[in-house]
């Protein structure tokens, strides 16, 4: 039995899919099979079907929309089901400046998202306030003052490739976490 990868002779003549199946496969006498490491299987599925919340507050949102379109096409990685309601979203991409007046709204949206939930802070404004760090009365200096952030993307604004990279980084993170333990906390 090969650990960490599917035994290809199980699918011989059926599949040419090169994707490595996480976990182990145990053959049973009647020809069916069991899988172990349920976490990895669930995480594999979760990581490849992240549903982002539509949330854009300024110019980074334009880059985010660009990442969704045909040229960059984030649906290649399973992000295409952008939701307009936080209750159906797994991921919030905070793309744009967050001002004091927006902060409670963002917190509320985050609270309404079902667990497990993830946050990508896109661009300089959401990391630190960026160009609005000094002499401003209205801008929140870093979105991590309001909600916990999983991945930060620098840039003003970051290119769509950078957003895709951050989402793939988030997938890596999800693939390495213990789902059931996370869900309980």
């Amino acid at each position: 039995m090969e650990e960490g990868g599917i035994k290809m002779d199980l699918n011989k003549g059926v599949s040419t899919n090169k994707m490595i199946f996480p976990g182990q496969v145990h053959e049973t006498p009647d020809g069916g099979f069991l899988i172990t490491k349920l976490d990895e299987v669930i995480n594999w599925a979760r990581a490849n079907s992240l549903w982002p919340l539509i949330f854009g507050t300024s110019c980074c949102a334009i880059e985010m929309m660009s990442a969704a379109d045909a040229k960059y096409d984030w649906s290649r990685f399973g992000f295409e089901v952008a939701r307009a309601t936080p209750r159906q979203a797994d991921l919030i991409i905070v793309s744009g400046t967050i001002v004091m007046k927006m902060a409670p709204v963002l917190k509320r949206l985050y609270d309404q998202m079902p667990d497990p939930k993830y946050v990508i802070a896109m661009g300089a404004c959401t990391i630190s306030g960026g160009p609005f760090f000094y002499n401003t009365y209205s801008v929140v200096k870093g979105v991590d003052h309001i909600i916990p952030v999983d991945v930060y993307i620098p840039g003003c604004p970051p290119r769509p490739e950078a957003l895709l990279h951050s989402m793939i980084t988030l997938q890596e993170k999800i693939k390495n976490e213990a789902y059931f333990r996370k869900a309980k906390t």
Binding site: M100, K101, F133, Y134, N135, Y137, S138, K141
Partner: protein
């Protein structure tokens, strides 16, 4: 009307007015007390007929505040900028022009919100963008709060 004709007519009505033509438009600088009569004249007199207030804002010059009104006449196609100097920066106040141009109502709300200028005879003077309980007026040069990081 040309700028010269505007100048002559305005100086007739309000002799204390100061003119500045260095910018794109003809600027008229007056004291805040004489704002309302001049504005009424600019709106109602046939030759002026400034029927469109397309910008209303304020500038903080530290020792005084300057209200700025951009007026346009759609019939005569001439433009003028009226500036009213408010010397009292501690408790600034000026007459509202919302009775002449309705659009001034929200513009004055904004100026009140960010500069703290009190508009007399304004129907509903309130904070427009900031929260109701905001302390201070952020676009004033002397504004500070605990979140602000000075460069």
């Amino acid at each position: 009307m040309t700028n010269e004709e505007l100048k002559n007519d305005i100086i007739e009505f309000s002799p204390a007015a100061i003119f500045d033509e260095s910018g794109e438009f003809l600027n008229v600088i007056i004291a805040s007390e004489s704002l309302l009569p001049l504005m009424k004249e600019l709106r109602s007199k046939k030759e002026f007929d400034f029927d469109y207030l397309f910008c209303l804002t304020c500038v903080d010059w530290k020792d005084h505040l300057m209200m700025v009104y951009f007026l346009l006449s759609k019939t005569h196609n001439h433009t003028i900028v009226v500036k009213a100097k408010i010397s009292d920066t501690v408790n600034p106040q000026i007459e509202s022009v919302n009775s002449i141009w309705k659009t001034a109502e929200l513009n004055e709300d904004e100026v009140y919100d960010l500069f703290g200028v009190n508009f007399l005879n304004h129907p509903n003077l309130r904070r427009l963008f900031l929260e109701e309980d905001w302390v201070g007026f952020p676009l004033r040069k002397n504004y500070v709060d605990e979140h602000m990081i000075k460069l």
